[in-house]
Symmetry: C2
Subunit: 701 residues, 2 copies
């Protein structure tokens, strides 16, 4: 038997005490107790109330010490000035987890932040896991455990369903719970994390990853505090076969500012979040409605096996619309075999038999067309997924029952298939379809989009995680301050990033004698720790012949001295003059959330005008690097657009992966790394960093 | 009094006859009559049924001739083989409009197409406007006029509301009607057009544009048959202050193929449709849900006055989300004045007072915060639009009434403002808000997106239509066949498209003597009717000095003769060698729907790799051309990115407009026009077509 998850005392405790439990079940301090009783909590439940013998019909205790048995979890709803005392009582009692509704901590300013720090210290000292403060709490409907005052439970307990939900905001979490319930999704476990003094969204995902009855996890994130912890939790969910769907807000400038004022900490770049979520295999939802629809699609008891989709419709227009949606979402409407098409036409002469299969309104007259159609598509044609458009038939007096009979029996005959309908039905009929394993969507576009999201989730779960090479451990320490081209390239080359054969000359004679080793045609570049923008001081000479190298050395040094008289000149770097290939820009930033993040862009207008860049959290392997390259809008340039030969994508991917390993190894020692450009040469000819700059951690540009 | 709209006999007739009216109100042939009676139609209603004296309680007539009074509109639901006879009876009776449900015409193949042609002839000969065949009919709930068998009316008549709807597909139209009704939108008039033998979606828009009680028009289009007619109808709606919202399907390859098989005609390019709808001022909705939400936002009795939006929320997370949505949708969350911010903080010390204004859950304790907040935002801060996030408060026993009181009284105090809520309410409460002029959205993102769509609609209605210069009428006819560079440029220059000073030399001596008139440095290009790709035969020489022009002439001709020995050589074109500026690609195609359509793209990778092009229907003026330029993803290149001087955008816009006027004037005479490249020089220095090719209508490339 595996060890229980560390959050078990918080999310599935055997005994609970409620500080400040009110006898009034409508008040914040009374709601949680009321919810426990309505949900049928089977553990020991102890209201703490110094002024009453009984609260809401349960015997009350004047303080925690007076509780006779052990207390695993405590709910603290007392005012902030009493919270520390309550925490200390919890430590004394041996409580393992606390849900703290109390506001007035870090979200209110410096004073509150100090109080929150004190609470954290007490919790850590006493071995208590703390949810909140300033949170709406959580529920686990499987256990009837309801330490929350969310108004979502006001209308009674919710059925313990397969979706797990973690939301940083409790108010917005309540909104998502309400939207989900209206959509017919049952949330078994919900956790709101508030100020995240201890327990984070990642902790919640981790618990849900282990919970055997949770099949999918939805979360709402304003900011991730610890990228590595988040990655680990998501990996755990993935290993246990559960899709994670996330909405991350704060992508806009005003949104980020609002998030910062709301949560008292700076939000990271949305582009980095977006790349990180993709890399981790999280399905990102843009809007609440999207989150709910994707969660709905992912909790139908199965996931689609592949991108092949059969569309069957009674309206040609809806078929066109769903074909549009499928193309946009990357689903494949493979056409029916000719024989199958003939079969469709034998039932309905004016049908469109290809896929979408438009059976027209003919099924109104002959509902057996539906049975035959479903058997053809799921049986003979063996489609893993099918979506049917039947509009108001699902609620029409004439067609509702025949349609349901036909659909539900097909779903029963093919229990491993993913079957969805776009139709308008009563809530009761909707529940009947869901019980038969068939999801209902009012909007046909949305039906296809949600199926596509479920396909992506299934694909991620089916694929093995991409391999990540080991991070090198024995690299020498980086020098301090800005590291210029020559040194930076040497360091990167050591880490496996390709560079050209180069030669550092410290005098004209040395340049003249060493030039031939480098090549026939050379580039000369000034080497000076003070000069980071070489071209601005005339510090670069292009296309110099090896024979002229000595004279060019002197001319170059003289020119730079005239323009930058105070710069120390360490010499001149001789590099081969290379032409052909595509220039890329590679960079690394140390992100406050995710640590070192590697950026890739195409040089020139792609980066400067189109901001066509993509990101990955370091470290990663070449497979991930190839995905990164393919994400660029201008990727076709590398694949040989405009009559150019295809580039050496493998060399680029290898360079990216090596850079990421170096960045992961050295993240404590640098602020940023730039390789601009990295020249990617034609296939088979490799790549080379033509210029590089490292800003070491104490460095200034 | 204005003349009645030509479609009045179809959409608001005083008398109606129903061919094949069945006594069974559940059958297709009985439904329409039942709907008429339930809707309380006040005109004369005549069931035609040769086998019964009475149908559904009304006296029936054996044939149309037997009807005592005049018949303005007839419903034909008889089988296809009887439809011609019925049409002929309509002509004899002086019927002005027919709604034909009957299927089995053009949608079934060549035979049906012939029958449909016959029906059209009869209708035209008799002065009858024909809706269908193969349609679900229409309704006008203001008149109780229901010539339809759509199941939408099965549950009783729908209230006559402000939205007008036109859908090519009747089945999908029924779905949209059902979705709209569930959303609380009342559709007063609906028209489905089926095969569009006569009456089209554009006709429907035109009627709704004139209908005084319709305030917004939604339509669903699979294909537009006549772009000019559609444009005219939309212009009419716009002139009458009504937004038009359209969903156009068939954008994908499979979708287009499905649309073609469904409607028996080829769909146009979606990119052209998209540009045309934008140019015409139509709000395009991508999904049915979008269409419904935008229609909802546009039928709240007013439209937003500007892009400024106030966001007020009880959840910080929702505020962040709505700020993200506002940025994506181009709405402006202008921050509150400092004094106003202080006022907010005086009510709620921990509020976020900037905008979004997060009043936190404090209003639970003190609902007067809401009144004060609304007054501050709509009064002192004078926001034209406001969206509030109040989640389940709208349905909570404690907050539902105080919230409604506060919101509805603010809406009444500021009746010219656009007020929306994101909240979860019962259908009854939803209706109460709507009656108070406040729209409700469950999803806060969607609320912002729908408001933004309403803003766009309002902006289009407020702006005067862009001026279109007159199309030139006195241009000489185009020569037949492909028109090469020299001639094409001359023709385009005549039409006002700028070209460089050029000189056509027919011999070396002439080249030598004429060169100086052209410039110091020249480009020489071969002129031959057979050679359209000059560089492929070595037919271009760059950067030739004027002094060398004679010798270069001979070398060029010799080179071309070697590679293309059979080509007639008319001479060599001498042009000035120009550098600097940005190369654009301009083109014109004759679109089957919209006529001549002008394309614009940036040369090089933008067109070839990124497919960064945009379109406009010809003719258009320079203002529209400027909008076109701004739509390019790479537009920053023209505005002076990467240290280049800004380009002469006015010259580019003028060239585009002139090209569009030429294309409109000559559309009957060409297949395509290409200007590749048009060089746009730095601001003030103009633009010039450097190469051009016209394919005249009988030409082959």
């Amino acid at each position: 038997m595996p060890a229980p998850h560390p959050l078990t005392p918080l999310l599935a405790p055997g005994s609970v005490a409620i500080f400040g439990a009110s006898n009034d079940p409508t008040r914040i301090s009374g709601r949680s107790l009321r919810y426990y009783r309505e949900a049928g909590y089977q553990g020991a439940l102890y209201p703490i109330n110094p002024t009453r013998d009984a609260v809401q019909g349960l015997p009350a205790f004047p303080d925690l010490a007076a509780v006779p048995g052990p207390v695993e979890c405590a709910v603290i709803a007392v005012p902030a000035n009493l919270a520390i005392e309550a925490m200390e009582a919890c430590v004394a009692k041996g409580v393992k987890a606390v849900v703290m509704f109390t506001a007035g901590f870090a979200e209110t300013g410096p004073e509150g932040r100090v109080m929150q720090e004190r609470i954290i210290q007490i919790a850590q000292g006493g071995g208590i896991r703390l949810c909140g403060p300033n949170c709406l709490g959580l529920f686990n409907m499987r256990a009837g455990h309801t330490p929350t005052f969310s108004s979502f439970l006001e209308e009674g307990p919710t059925p313990a369903g397969p979706l797990g939900m973690v939301t940083q905001s409790g108010a917005f979490g309540t909104h998502l719970l309400a939207l989900s319930a209206r959509r017919g999704i049952q949330v078994g476990i919900w956790l709101s994390t508030g100020n995240e003094a201890d327990v984070s969204v990642a902790d919640g995902i981790s618990f849900l990853a282990d919970d055997p009855e949770t099949t999918a996890i939805a979360c709402y994130v304003e900011q991730i505090k610890d990228g590595a912890q988040f990655a680990e939790a998501v990996a755990r969910a993935r290993a246990n076969g559960k899709p994670v769907i996330a909405m991350k807000v704060g992508g806009s400038a005003i949104g980020a500012a609002a998030a910062a004022s709301h949560t008292a900490s700076l939000a990271g770049s949305d582009a980095v979040y977006d790349a990180a979520l993709r890399q981790l295999g999280v399905e990102r939802a843009k809007t609440p409605a999207d989150l709910v629809e994707i969660a709905y699609a992912c909790t139908r008891g199965r996931l689609p096996r592949s991108r092949r989709l059969a569309v069957v419709t009674m309206s040609g227009g809806a078929g066109v619309l769903m074909a549009d949606a499928a193309e946009e979402e990357g689903l494949e409407l493979t056409p029916l075999a000719e024989e199958s098409q003939k079969e469709v036409l034998s039932w309905v002469p004016f049908a469109a038999p290809l896929n979408p299969v438009d059976v027209t309104a003919q099924a109104l007259n002959d509902p057996s067309i539906l049975d035959k159609g479903f058997d053809l598509l799921l049986g003979k044609e063996n489609f893993p997924s099918m979506v049917g458009f039947f509009t108001t038939w699902a609620s029409s007096p004439q067609m509702a029952e025949p349609l349901f009979r036909s659909v539900s029996s097909a779903a029963a005959r093919y229990p491993d298939r993913y079957f969805a309908l776009s139709a308008i039905a009563s809530p009761e009929m909707q529940r009947r379809y869901e019980a038969a394993g068939v999801g209902l969507f009012e909007d046909p576009w949305r039906a296809v989009a949600a199926i596509a999201a479920a396909v992506r989730c299934a694909e991620r779960l089916a694929a093995a995680p991409l391999p990540v090479p080991p991070v090198p451990r024995d690299l020498p320490p980086l020098p301090k301050g800005p590291i210029g081209e020559y040194e930076a390239k040497r360091i990167l080359a050591e880490a496996g990033v390709p560079i050209l054969t180069e030669f550092l000359a410290t005098g004209a004679a040395q340049a003249a004698s060493g030039a031939a080793k480098v090549g026939d045609r050379l580039v000369l570049k000034i080497v000076s720790p003070e000069i980071t923008h070489k071209t601005e001081v005339g510090g670069v000479m292009l296309n110099v012949s090896a024979a002229e190298a000595g004279a060019a050395y002197d001319r170059l040094v003289e020119r730079v001295k005239a323009r930058a008289p105070r710069a120390t000149i360490d010499g001149v770097l001789l590099s081969p003059m290379v032409t052909g290939g595509v220039e890329m820009i590679l960079g690394v930033q140390n992100d406050p959330v995710f640590g070192p993040v590697v950026m890739l862009g195409l040089g020139g207008i792609f980066v400067e005008v189109l901001r066509d860049v993509t990101f990955r959290i370091a470290p990663f392997g070449v497979e991930e690097a190839h995905r990164m390259i393919a994400e660029l809008r201008g990727a076709a340039i590398l694949e040989g657009a405009r009559g150019q030969p295809p580039c050496d994508l493998d060399a680029l991917a290898a360079a990216l992966s090596r850079l990421s390993l170096f960045a992961a190894a050295k993240c404590a020692e640098f602020t940023s790394i730039d390789i601009n450009p990295l020249l990617v040469r034609p296939k088979g000819e490799g790549a080379a960093a033509l210029d590089a700059l490292i800003l070491a951690s104490d460095g200034t540009a």
